[in-house]
């Protein structure tokens, strides 16, 4: 094993556990202490993850290609690939067709058919969504369960039952289960607070792992969504993804690193007050919270009222357009300081397209440009996710791929 191999692997560790990786960062505070000793088996795991990442990203290649791409020695690559083949994660795909002289190289690839991933999206207030996915994050099977107002333990029971049904629906060994929950979730998979589900300090990761016997990763739904947008949606590595539904929450990636915050509450912008001219009453008791302006149930109720009230369709359309414009403007007012402070160049919205796309999105980006420095943010882009309503489920797949293939 060469020096470079371990170093290369370490970036994998940092990627998958940004919070832990970052705790040792920055010189030269007197509190700085070297991190815990890294044992040889950790280095091996990092190198294994590096091989998997390389194959995952590039597809079938020879062992020599992997060696060249990763900087690992051929001996190390052969050794790791043998282990990955034995584990059923990598498969030989036959010899390379080509014109090169000499013995043709055997191509290897991730065995994308050998395992499946289970994802759960608990962020919809009416249904829990579940899916069986392949290793490319493609959805093979869906199961939805009506929440029927369940909270607390009954809601946990629905999660466990849905997980069991998804396991039964899977047709390959399950690599892991990714769960995207609303609320504040820590890195140990404890849901500290998800008011809509009545969950407080719920050990969701442990509960599902105990019941299923599978590796389980739990994260906040907006954090899952931003991982999906980055992994599958061709997003930049500096990105804010804003989910607008029953509530409003954001997921943040900075330099490709997910931001969790000092209390795992990063992105919880729904109850930030917007503007200084009053606003609608929020369910939380305050007025002019971002959620009170832009949450989907509020917009739907207002649109219904406009339609019931308006004398003709044209008038209704104009008033609905203005409603969506106002909501977009409020979203822009709330986000402008964040865009300025983080120098963001890209914002992605996730939620019902028929409400977000058009007047709302347009007003948001115009407001953002008007309320920040044009010099920097004149080229700011704002778009809807291309991943649609499946963004959270696919984010759950990214969580599993990262946790199970990225780092053991």
């Amino acid at each position: 094993m060469t020096a470079s191999e371990v170093q290369r692997g370490s970036s994998t560790l940092d990627a998958a556990h940004p919070n832990t990786a970052q705790t040792t960062a920055y010189l030269p505070g007197r509190r700085l202490r070297p991190s815990a000793k890294v044992l040889p088996e950790h280095a091996r795991n990092h190198n294994r993850a590096l091989v998997l990442q390389t194959l995952y990203g590039a597809g079938a290649m020879s062992r020599a290609d992997v060696s060249r791409e990763t900087g690992l020695t051929r001996v190390t690559v052969s050794d790791l690939v043998a282990e990955l083949i034995a584990d059923g994660l990598v498969v030989e795909r036959g010899q390379r067709e080509g014109v090169r002289p000499g013995k043709p190289a055997m191509l290897i690839d991730i065995d994308r058919e050998a395992h499946q991933i289970i994802g759960l999206d608990l962020s919809d207030y009416s249904d829990f969504h579940g899916a069986v996915m392949n290793l490319d994050g493609e959805i093979l099977e869906r199961i939805d369960v009506a929440l029927e107002g369940a909270t607390g333990e009954p809601a946990v029971a629905k999660v466990l039952a849905l997980t069991e049904r998804l396991l039964q629906a899977s047709t390959r060994p399950v690599l892991g289960i990714g769960i995207a929950s609303p609320g504040v979730v820590d890195l140990a998979g404890i849901v500290h607070s998800a008011p809509n589900l009545g969950w407080h300090d719920l050990e969701l990761q442990r509960r599902v792992a105990d019941a299923s016997g599978c590796p389980v990763i739990v994260s906040n739904d907006a954090n899952a969504a931003v991982l999906a947008e980055h992994g599958f949606g061709h997003a930049e590595s500096d990105l804010m993804l804003v989910r607008i539904g029953h509530g409003v929450g954001a997921g943040l990636l900075l330099g490709g690193i997910a931001i969790y915050g000092s209390r795992f509450a990063a992105g919880e912008i729904g109850h930030v007050t917007v503007g200084t001219d009053g606003g609608p009453l929020c369910a939380c008791g305050k007025t002019a919270c971002l959620e009170a302006w832009v949450a989907i149930p509020r917009l739907e109720a207002e649109i219904q009222a406009i339609r019931a009230d308006a004398t003709d369709d044209d008038t209704a359309a104009l008033r609905i357009d203005q409603l969506l414009r106002d909501a977009g403007e409020r979203l822009g007012i709330a986000l402008a300081p964040v865009v300025g402070a983080l120098d963001l160049s890209q914002i992605v919205l996730s939620g019902p397209e028929e409400l977000l796309d058009g007047a709302l999105a347009q007003a948001t980006v115009e407001t953002l440009r008007n309320r920040t420095m044009a010099e920097f943010h004149g080229d700011l882009t704002l778009r809807l996710t291309t991943l649609g309503q499946d963004i959270v489920l696919r984010g759950a797949a990214v969580m599993v791929l990262s946790g199970q293939l990225g780092v053991s």
Copy 2:
């Protein structure tokens, strides 16, 4: 060299060059590519930095202690220490006094007297401030130069002349020169835009390095300040430092990593619009920018006007208190979305204490708590820096310590 040694060193690299380190992060985007090959001499430099950081943080210890603390083998430590002694960075401090049997251990430490650091703070609109500092960031010698309205090349000439005078004032070999400039500065030390100094795309790092023959690091003044607060001011690793002077700018650390933004403009919050009820005209042509509310010249002018206008001292005091409260409230309105989005628990202000401490800071923190979720931000702290007006100079020292000792 063991596997663990290289791994340990790599966290140093990530710390000092967060932007470059982060670009390879996150699985499993198809665009992910392994980072450039790390050569053995890099690993050696990382291990060297690890030894220096350990000694810098903990002070005199034996080679065996260093080995234990770092996880590096004794042979590697002895080898690196010999090199560091030859370079004049580490010195033997005599044998340990104590009761342990056997041969007493020789203590080694950073030779804190062997080198000095030069720092320049270009962020004050009236003067350039310079200092010669020791390796603990203590200021040994100060030189200030009146700016006298200089901009463009004449301002560069003042920087070069000040640097030359500081080099003459230094009494030890200079480890490096740290320069904190206003405006947008990239990692190569190019000042992309510093309007007050009339600088655009100025290669400040190269200019000063060519003139001085010393290693030079250039950064934005607020970014320098947040490093100082983290390194010397006992701040947490999640921190926003807001500098209020002629303009308003912020430095951000998240998980101990400095945030620079996609265009190196992170923290440029001075021209974010505050509130939705109008406000003072800003020099930039917009209204209600954060700077228009809280910049020091504006507050000083208003206070002068109140004093000239008020019939008695009590009335004047009340009106000044209200002015500062209003400014603090506006600062809180601007920062609340950032606090919510990043889940910050600590904000530090830097600027004239007589204006910031008291009514202004109090109104800021009250506004922040009122406009974010009490559940998370009820315990938010806001305080003035303990480093006073020297925070930027000391940040320049941190930049040099990081660049020269942290990573070669």
